[in-house]
Symmetry: C2
């Protein structure tokens, strides 16, 4: 797992010779996958706090569709990595770093859903697919999405 500023990773650096290029692309995808769970948890925690005032492990687990023990273990990783804090039996809270990540993740998610919808994907399918797609959309692609949305009225 990366630390905060890499949780939404950068785009490809320079040119690489042929075969290495492919290996590099797979490497980028693996990195993005490693941050996906962090991003999902942080965004959900932010949602729960915003809409309900608190984020409890049981609620997080239910919303994600995992066992509560799984959520607690992942939350402990968030704490270890500086995205969240929690006091026993008192819910989970985001650090500044966590809130900042949540904000970026939510904006990216919305934009992906918007663009999918504009392309003719039904709203509910767009939401579902975006849940996976969003973690692999690089900043460059995100910028292209934003430009496309602005060009064609949303």
């Amino acid at each position: 797992m990366d630390d905060g500023d890499d949780a939404i990773r950068q785009s490809a650096p320079a040119e690489l010779p042929g075969e290495d290029t492919q290996a590099h692309r797979f490497g980028l995808a693996r990195e993005a996958q490693a941050t996906a769970v962090t991003e999902d948890y942080v965004e959900l925690i932010d949602d729960l706090i915003t809409t309900g005032g608190e984020a409890r492990p049981t609620d997080i687990a239910r919303r994600l569709g995992v066992a509560h023990a799984t959520a607690i273990k992942t939350i402990s990783r968030l704490k270890r990595d500086g995205f969240a804090v929690s006091r026993p039996y008192r819910g989970v809270f985001l650090t500044e770093q966590g809130r900042e990540l949540a904000c970026r993740v939510r904006a990216r998610h919305r934009l992906v859903v918007e663009v999918l919808t504009m392309l003719g994907v039904p709203e509910d399918v767009a939401e579902a697919d975006a849940e996976g797609i969003e973690h692999f959309v690089s900043p460059v692609t995100l910028a292209a999405f934003a430009a496309y949305r602005d060009r064609h009225g949303a």
Copy 2:
């Protein structure tokens, strides 16, 4: 890991009540992730056989950017799951199921790259992002992509 026919998963079934919907979406994304590695390997093996006549573990590992032992272990899972066969020191071959999956995966990859490019994403970035995105594009979204491509000339 799913077996063959689910390796490209289906879209969401019926309507689900509010909170369960979100849990279900995350569940779909987790399933798609579980099939992503299988899809990458199968497509790469098919490429290597088509272009070079054989797919050796070392070549697979180099192209994916992982250690050869990692590739061998994953290949053994492909064999276990009925996507590939191999004889010691004689390279890897796809089963009928494996070839069929490779074909679907390649078509999907190309379409994702095409659509990203049409949206204004630079070619190389589109290729890199598609490596991750493709695994989460449901059949419904894929159909919408194809319709979009056909509507606006590629």
